[in-house]
């Protein structure tokens, strides 16, 4: 690794109305290194990145690239300085093709005037092929899965041949296989002397890929460590400012009452002969590669998607769940995987978002019980430790992880009997993860049945009573807690996969 300092961000400060997002943060990145940025939800990581990427401008501080101070006022400026960013939120245009999205804002021209679609598609195809991705350049973004969209974002960012590449939680919706693929490419870029800033809440990833780790907390610089010279405990203490003792909280009971049973569910090409059952007071893990059909099963149960044949029984009785509202009345709650697309009202307040499913608790006829509304909000904001300046803050302005907590809080507010969590800890920091685990534990202790879809195997293994593994729309295994290993799960998860 060379010692050349590629990028310095010195004493950056940024204030939003009512929120001091960055007090004083500095960061130094060398050419050819992967520099991880670590911090709790709302610590200011994305804000720092957006300043570097020309989305926000800083209130104070300087940015130095290759030894000279630069001003970055727009995305174009950032691109000019060789900075390319994969943002935390997916930013693709749904109704445009993969190729159009990759070259958005820098479309190749012919005759200096017209977009050269042929070249654009050919180039995109070339790119996708070189990364061995099975995505066609003329496919519409809206037809891709979230994981595929994430891959398109990554490829788009790589295609800039940037000097400085920033990745804000690039792996949050990727499966292990895609993560490996991404890491391979990161290593290639390192060899090419690209400086990489990498943000992730998965500590195991940082160990694998990062050379250095800088920790920020509440908008302040805490310290920088060499990865090989630090420990998880030290990093966590730096992050949360105290020691975290229990990570996975789980008291296992002996659940025997079936609350949900699914029999021979078939839905087109997506799901084939899905059968499983769920006891009250247990956590049933759902593992599998992204696209295995796990979310699809849950959407069928929750009445969002239709299925062709099969039966769903709740408390032993066959039911037809007509729509999500009907599902809620039967005590089912589903926390979807894509918070932006499927869950949040970005322009509305924290209160609005949390209470939207529990309006019955404080609106009676035309009377709105404001005190009760605030009480409910407070209960779940406190329980989920949501970091927000006021309850009135619009959710779009919260950090990514805190948005996730709002979604979970909303569904807890409906007091469900069967709680389906689709990637509940995606993009959530370690402290909050521990918090979510302990909440899940509390819920099952009180008899709630939880289905947890997760691509994070350690969490599946440590939290679940039993684990259902899916692959290519089929259930390939139902494993009990004893003797559960990552290898075992992966073995089942890769059956029927033809790649």
């Amino acid at each position: 690794m060379s010692e050349k300092i590629l990028l310095e961000m010195n004493h950056i400060r940024k204030e939003f109305p009512g929120v001091l997002a960055l007090k004083d943060v500095s960061l130094q990145v060398q050419a050819g290194e992967v520099h991880a940025l670590l911090g709790e939800n709302g610590a200011g990581k994305s804000t720092l990145i957006k300043i570097l990427g020309g989305i926000y401008s800083s209130d104070a501080g300087e940015i130095v690239i290759d030894g000279s101070v630069v001003t970055i006022n727009s995305v174009q400026d950032a691109q000019k300085f060789g900075i390319s960013v994969i943002h935390q939120e997916l930013v693709l245009v749904p109704h445009m093709t993969v190729a159009e999205n990759i070259y958005l804002g820098r479309e190749p021209l012919k005759a200096g005037r017209f977009v050269d679609f042929k070249k654009m598609n050919d180039d995109a195809k070339h790119l996708l092929d070189s990364f061995e991705l099975d995505i066609r350049p003329n496919e519409e973004i809206s037809e891709l899965t979230i994981a595929q969209q994430q891959m398109v974002e990554i490829i788009k960012a790589l295609s800039f041949h940037a000097k400085i590449l920033v990745m804000d939680e690039p792996t949050s919706s990727l499966s292990e296989k895609d993560v490996d693929f991404l890491f391979e490419n990161i290593r290639k870029l390192k060899k090419a002397q690209v400086g990489i800033i990498y943000i992730s809440h998965r500590m195991s990833e940082l160990k694998q890929i990062a050379d250095k780790i800088t920790v920020i907390r509440d908008g302040e610089y805490i310290g920088t460590r060499q990865t090989h010279a630090t420990t998880n405990d030290e990093l966590i203490t730096m992050m949360v400012g105290r020691q975290l003792t229990n990570y996975y909280t789980r008291t296992f009971g002996n659940p025997t009452t079936k609350v949900l049973e699914v029999k021979h569910l078939n839905a087109g090409k997506l799901l084939k002969d899905i059968s499983f059952h769920l006891f009250s007071g247990e956590i049933l893990g759902f593992a599998g590669l992204v696209g295995a059909g796990r979310s699809e099963v849950m959407k069928c149960i929750f009445g969002i998607d239709a299925f062709e044949s099969g039966e769903i029984l709740i408390n032993g009785e066959p039911v037809v769940v007509k729509n999500p509202d009907d599902a809620m009345k039967r005590g089912i709650a589903l926390v979807p995987e894509s918070r932006k697309r499927e869950a949040l009202f970005m322009d509305q307040s924290v209160t609005y978002n949390i209470t939207i499913k529990a309006l019955g608790e404080f609106i009676h006829g035309i009377h709105v019980d404001n005190a009760r509304e605030t009480e409910i909000t407070k209960e779940y904001v406190d329980m989920m430790e949501i970091k927000t300046p006021t309850y009135k803050q619009v959710v779009g302005n919260l950090s990514g992880g805190n948005q996730q907590k709002v979604v979970i809080g909303r569904w807890l507010a409906t007091k469900p009997k069967i709680l389906i969590l689709d990637e509940p800890t995606r993009g959530v920091d370690v402290g909050a993860k521990a918090e979510i685990y302990s909440i899940m534990n509390e819920l099952v202790k009180n008899g709630v049945a939880i289905i947890m879809i997760s691509s994070e195997l350690p969490e599946v293994i440590n939290m679940s009573d039993r684990v259902v593994v899916m692959s290519n729309g089929k259930i390939t295994g139902c494993l009990s807690r004893e003797g559960l290993t990552q290898e075992k799960i992966m073995h089942h998860a890769t059956q029927f996969v033809t790649t």
Binding site: G53, I55, H95, M96, L104, G105, F114
Partner: protein
């Protein structure tokens, strides 16, 4: 591979994307040919096209505006304002025709620029901005004319809207040019890509280094200019600038755009669809006239047809997404 080729054939694409409304248009024509001997005559067809023309100038721009997730309600009033200014420049001030027409067009550009400026630089919704300019421009037309039409009895002025080149009426020539330019912008140019991007996901557009404001500004400017062209053409055809001209024109344009399959929520749509949409509206009113159905009923028929067309489109799209 075969699929790729098909995708690259614009005519095939045009047919496939607009299959439903093309059939509708065809059906309409067949029915009218059966019931009215005049319908298929050359004169009548040119007549329909001439009527469709002014709506389509505006509708082309409106397509861009709606793809951007916006709306331009001010076009009808702009038709009046640019018409009366052109007329007034000749009749009141004795300016030459060229100067008057340029002034008329500039009025439209000014209204468009004003809309574009407010919409791209503030967060006031396009509906509100253009609702205001709609009233302002209409009011200005009345004030400027004192409520009376401004008569311009000049053959050269009248040629703009009523003249012919060979057998082709002038408005149709403008129409062809405008449609070609619009199609080129939307399907071939970078600007077109950016219009779809800003309409489909403004954040993504901004994060990709697109200047959203500039794209928005352009669309409303273009809309103003198109309305002005329509205004001058209409004034010329009527030998006068009339402050009441273009009333409801914005709604006809929006109807054409929507019939053509453009989504009111932005991000999706094509000029080609809008052209067919406008033709349907044009042929329909022409047909109803030929059949002697009174104009009160025509409104009802028009409304019903729009609903049916959009509903069919909805059914089609619903199937696709499953």
């Amino acid at each position: 591979m075969k699929k790729l080729q098909a995708k690259n054939n614009p005519l095939y694409n045009f047919g496939r994307e607009n299959f439903g409304i093309l059939i509708g248009l065809l059906l309409l024509c067949v029915i009218l040919t059966i019931f009215s001997p005049v319908f298929l005559s050359k004169n009548n067809i040119l007549n329909v096209l001439r009527q469709v023309a002014t709506n389509l100038y505006i509708a082309c721009a409106m397509t861009m505006v709606i793809i951007l997730g916006g709306i331009d309600l001010s076009v009808g009033s702009t038709i009046a304002l640019s018409g009366v200014v052109t007329g007034g420049m000749i009749a009141f001030d004795g300016h030459s025709l060229v100067v008057a027409v340029i002034a008329g067009l500039l009025v439209g550009v000014a209204v468009g620029a004003f809309n574009g400026f407010l919409i791209s630089k503030t967060t006031i919704p396009p509906f509100i901005v253009t609702l205001s300019t709609m009233n302002i421009a209409r009011g200005a037309s009345y004030v400027y004319t004192g409520g009376q039409p401004i008569r311009v009895m000049s053959d050269s002025f009248n040629f703009i809207g009523s003249g012919y080149v060979g057998e082709i009426p002038m408005p149709i020539i403008y129409l062809v040019i405008i449609v070609i330019i619009s199609v080129l912008i939307m399907s071939k140019s970078r600007l077109g890509r950016h219009i779809y991007a800003v309409g489909g996901n403004p954040t993504a557009a901004r994060f990709s280094g697109i200047n959203n404001s500039r794209v928005l500004f352009f669309a409303y400017l273009f809309s103003g200019l198109m309305a002005a062209i329509a205004g001058v053409v209409l004034a010329s055809r009527m030998f006068s600038g009339q402050p009441t001209a273009g009333q409801g024109a914005e709604m006809d344009a929006i109807a054409a755009v929507v019939l053509g399959g453009t989504s009111m929520s932005g991000g999706v749509g094509k000029i080609g669809g809008t052209v067919i949409g406008a033709l349907i509206i044009g042929v329909l009113s022409n047909g109803l006239n030929l059949l002697g159905i009174n104009s009160f009923w025509q409104y009802i028929v028009k409304g019903v047809v729009i609903l049916i067309a959009v509903y069919v489109d909805f059914l089609k799209k619903g199937k696709k997404s499953n």
